[in-house]
């Protein structure tokens, strides 16, 4: 290990104790895996004092752990679920827990988190930091809508605890919302408190295949009828693993309600929808969401539901044909594949002129550095984001390419 790296390792062992989990990655970079929130704070405090640049990692299965840094800090040893109350439908979980492990812990107590982000082996913190939502966003809201509170450790090691454990809370400013989906710009999320539901009683999926715009129109008809399905997802042929586009409609709730919804959905559109058997429905959603989508880059584009065809045309024009899903009710197109920074930047700027924000959810360091997770900000926004970053990370410890203005 290089001299500087050795110094850092020694410093960390002196702070966290000889038992601290410190290793090196493939490139010889030191990596620390604190087992407590306090450990995370101590490391970042030292980093700020000593001028280290730190890259934050979860389990490395979404954003690749490739940003240049002096130290990598992983949350993978923060895996506890210190609080789970099935009567109050509230749980607190540490950020390093694998999503599937969290789901199991919740299910064991008869509870459920109505969120299905892609990538089952990701850490909870990765989902929170990147704001990646799955198809259930249409019916149940974005991931930030499930957060009652978080613990964030700032770039200089301060521990901040906004929110609380109750389902309604307006005390103080909503730092929880700021932390979610900001790609680690404001600190490391070490734990989150989640609002849960009971395990759904009925869960039905209907599908139709056909041409893109036919299916989009069918989806619009469903929404116009006043129905809000749990998921209303359009899949490109590649995402559907077939040769046609697919529309998947998922209905979740009490038996009678789901039954009524199913009738309403069928009545709302001419397009014929087939109800899948439970096993096939499971297979469809798992196939779509178990792993990160293919390709090295994943991005999402926001649009009005009525402008999704335009958004899809824009993507098709700028990016190679690939894996695409559309969460119609939430107005989001997600594309995944391999492409260049220039193409993404051009798409971002063209889209921005139509008031469609583009977020880079996942990419190699090279792409992230050139494109930034966010960009083409509205006037005045960049300044605010920059000032907030300096507030939370005055020493510039955290390595993250939040904006294209960096």
């Amino acid at each position: 290990m290089a001299g500087a790296g050795l110094t850092i390792v020694r410093r960390i062992r002196s702070i966290l104790g000889a038992g601290a989990v410190v290793e090196t990655d493939r490139t010889g970079l030191p990596r620390v895996a604190p087992g407590t929130e306090e450990g995370v704070a101590l490391v970042l405090r030292a980093a700020a004092a000593d001028g280290w640049r730190v890259r934050i990692e979860g389990r490395g299965s979404w954003v690749p752990p490739d940003a240049p840094a002096d130290l990598a800090l992983t949350t993978r040893n923060l895996t506890k679920v210190p609080y789970l109350d099935p009567n109050d439908l509230v749980a607190t979980a540490e950020a390093g827990i694998r999503l599937d492990d969290l789901r199991q812990a919740l299910a064991d107590r008869g509870t459920w988190l109505p969120a299905d982000p892609p990538g089952a082996s990701r850490s909870l913190g990765s989902v929170v930091a990147t704001g990646t939502a799955g198809p259930l966003r249409g019916g149940f809201g974005n991931f930030r809508d499930h957060l009652l509170g978080v613990t964030i450790v700032t770039g200089d090691g301060r521990v901040v605890r906004p929110g609380g454990r109750v389902v309604k809370n307006v005390a103080g400013f909503d730092l929880t919302k700021l932390a979610a989906g900001s790609f680690g710009a404001f600190g490391v999320v070490t734990s989150v408190t989640l609002r849960l539901r009971g395990v759904p009683r009925a869960d039905t999926t209907l599908v139709a295949t056909g041409a893109r715009d036919t299916l989009l129109n069918a989806a619009h008809s469903i929404l116009q009828a006043g129905i809000t399905p749990a998921a209303l997802e359009l899949l490109s042929p590649q995402a559907a693993q077939g040769d046609q586009w697919m529309l998947a409609v998922r209905l979740i709730g009490a038996d009678a309600a789901v039954s009524a919804e199913r009738d309403s959905v069928s009545g709302a559109t001419q397009t014929a929808l087939t109800e899948l058997a439970a096993a096939d429905a499971s297979k469809l959603w798992r196939g779509l969401l178990a792993h990160a989508p293919p390709g090295s880059a994943t991005l999402r584009l926001g649009a009005l539901p009525s402008a999704l065809d335009e958004a899809l045309d824009l993507v098709a024009h700028h990016l190679p044909e690939g894996w695409l899903t559309v969460t119609i009710g939430a107005g989001v197109v997600r594309w995944s594949g391999d492409t260049t920074a220039d193409r993404i930047k051009l798409l971002r700027h063209t889209a921005a002129q139509r008031e469609m924000p583009l977020t880079l959810e996942r990419a190699t360091w090279q792409l992230r550095q050139l494109v930034g997770h966010f960009g083409a900000y509205r006037e005045g926004v960049g300044r605010l984001v920059g000032a907030l970053r300096r507030t939370f990370d005055p020493a510039g410890v955290l390595v993250t390419t939040v904006g294209d203005d960096m």
Binding site: G172, F173, K177, V381
Partner: protein, 539 residues
């Protein structure tokens, strides 16, 4: 640390500039006029502003704020003044910007289930306007026939139906915001995707301390086709609380789940809003279910009815028609008003507790009420655990105010001890400032203050609310942020002030000399401000 060099009144030159922007008809200065704006929905806090300004357009708001920035004058934005935390109160050195003239619904976009409104649009009016499209605006605070969307955004307002549909933060898509330096920015995007880090989510509920939202894009929700409303009565608060828990854990999600205790029911039934609630009950629950189809909702209704009876309901009544339903709801929505008529003074809290703690906390509130000799009525959003203990009293009675304050504090501590928080929808304002250190440590309070200073480096937007400054751990503000904000204010505000000063001088030759003298002293204070305030950097 307050800036002790702040001017005690609004300088004449500033007032002239503002008057030139909005027109003299829309300035209020007479004491009797100012009294109208000296309190909000809470009778216990009163504060008269220096002057009231009623801008008529978004552009006027921005221009007025630029003047205020130039002169370093604090300000408070106000909607209908129905708030319950003293958030819309301004001190005598501040300008109160009343936004009720900005009451236009700019666009309704039914295809995309959204609308664009000015901040002064009344909540219920927005729902009424969306009705013909089969849509409504879901967050429904009890004050919805008077309160404004802008106020709802500032407080992150809730209401009974937020149990199923979410609070204001879940229904705001985009905000055009005038920042305290007078610059204008847009947070969010036309629909649900954030545009950058979630500054929109951060702004909602910031109680007017980050700036003024002048254009608000909201989500509209399909109006349910089928609704059932039930009223159940119970022999004790405890059993009612247990019934609430049972409903929550059943997996069914009611549209609303409200509770009222005996005192509250008595007040409602004695008023013009009498809804036929059973006056011999210790508690009543109002449960509403909604959905797409009659049959499905009827089935859920049967299940809820069974659960209620299994958990101690003595009687369960299902509303027979829309009129009956409206009557049941009116009783609930006007409960606060009915209580307010019972005594000269009223204190209302807004704590939230875990639902499973409701039975114990309700019992504890009863014990506290008795030990302090207080008249407490409970009307609240049981489904969320959002309590509203109302304390009726008469401050003229000897030592009553003191007992109320101590009892109030005891109730709040009981809620916090049960794992709760201090405010679920009314906001902190001034009213709950003293409890903030009980729920947030000094590091977290320091972070909140530092964030506020990013938006408002000089802390002039709704000063002295929400964050108890003495309890914050210091976070250094970035010098670059300060200077940039100051420069922006200086350039735009100075230009506007100069134009107005010119006009005033032409109109009133005699006052010109005075205006010039005032301009001289005020501009020197503005120039001193960034360095001398003592609030930036380490204190």
């Amino acid at each position: 640390m307050m800036n002790t060099r702040r001017l005690p009144r609004v300088p004449a030159q500033a007032l002239d500039a503002i008057t030139a922007i909005v027109g003299p008809r829309w300035i209020r200065r007479a004491p009797s006029e100012l009294d109208t704006y000296a309190s909000d929905g809470l009778p216990t806090h009163r504060s008269r502003p220096a002057v009231v300004v009623l801008p008529g357009t978004c552009d006027q708001v921005a221009r007025v704020v630029r003047i205020l920035a130039h002169f370093g004058i604090p300000f408070v934005a106000r909607g209908a003044g129905t708030g319950l935390s003293g958030g819309a109160l301004a001190h005598e050195d501040a300008v109160l910007l009343v936004l009720t003239r900005l009451n236009r619904i700019l666009e309704i976009d039914p295809e995309n289930r959204r609308a664009v409104v000015e901040p002064g649009v009344v909540n219920a009016r927005l729902t009424a306007a969306a009705a013909r499209h089969g849509l409504h605006y879901a967050p429904d605070p009890s004050s919805q026939t008077a309160c404004t969307i802008g106020g709802n955004v500032a407080e992150n307002a809730g209401g009974p139906h937020c149990l199923k549909y979410g609070v204001t933060a879940n229904h705001i898509l985009e905000l055009e915001v005038v920042l305290p330096d007078g610059s204008v920015t847009t947070l969010g995007s036309p629909y649900l995707e954030p545009w950058g880090p979630d500054l929109l989510g951060l702004f909602v509920g910031s109680e007017g301390m980050f700036g003024i939202a002048t254009r608000i894009t909201v989500r509209l929700t399909p109006t349910p086709k089928a609704v059932r409303t039930l009223l159940a009565d119970f022999g004790s608060l405890r059993t009612a609380g247990e019934a609430v828990s049972a409903i929550i854990t059943s997996g069914l999600v009611p549209a609303a789940l409200e509770m009222m205790d005996r005192n509250c029911v008595a007040a409602v039934e004695a008023s013009i809003y009498a809804a036929g609630y059973p006056t011999d009950a210790a508690a009543v629950l109002l449960v509403e279910l909604d959905g797409l189809a009659e049959g499905a909702v009827a089935t859920e209704c049967e299940e809820i009815e069974r659960l209620l009876r299994e958990h101690g309901a003595r009687g369960v009544r299902v509303a027979t028609d829309e009129r009956d339903r409206a009557r049941l709801w009116q009783g609930r929505k006007k409960a606060f008003g009915a209580l307010g008529r019972m005594s000269p003074d009223l204190v209302v809290q807004d704590a939230v507790v875990p639902r499973s703690a409701l039975p114990n906390v309700l019992e504890r509130i009863g014990v506290i009420a008795e030990s302090f000799g207080l008249n407490v009525s409970n009307v609240f959003h049981a489904g969320d655990g959002n309590l509203h203990p109302n304390i009726s009293f008469d401050r003229e009675r000897p030592r009553e105010l003191e007992r109320v304050e101590r009892g109030s504090a005891a109730i709040m501590q009981a809620c916090i001890a049960a794992g709760g928080t201090i405010t679920g929808e009314h906001g902190v304002g001034i009213d709950k400032l003293r409890y903030m250190p009980d729920v947030f440590d000094s590091e977290t309070l320091g972070a909140m203050r530092a964030i506020r200073r990013v938006f408002d480096p000089e802390e002039r937007a709704n000063p002295v609310k929400v964050i108890p400054v003495h309890a914050c751990r210091e976070w250094l503000a970035s010098p670059r942020t300060r200077h940039r904000a100051g420069a922006a204010a200086g350039a735009a505000g100075a230009a506007e002030a100069a134009r107005a000063a010119g006009a005033a001088e032409a109109a009133r030759a005699g006052a010109a000399a005075e205006a010039a003298a005032t301009a001289g002293s005020s501009s020197s204070i503005v120039l001193d401000r960034p360095g001398s305030s003592g609030r930036e950097g380490v204190e």
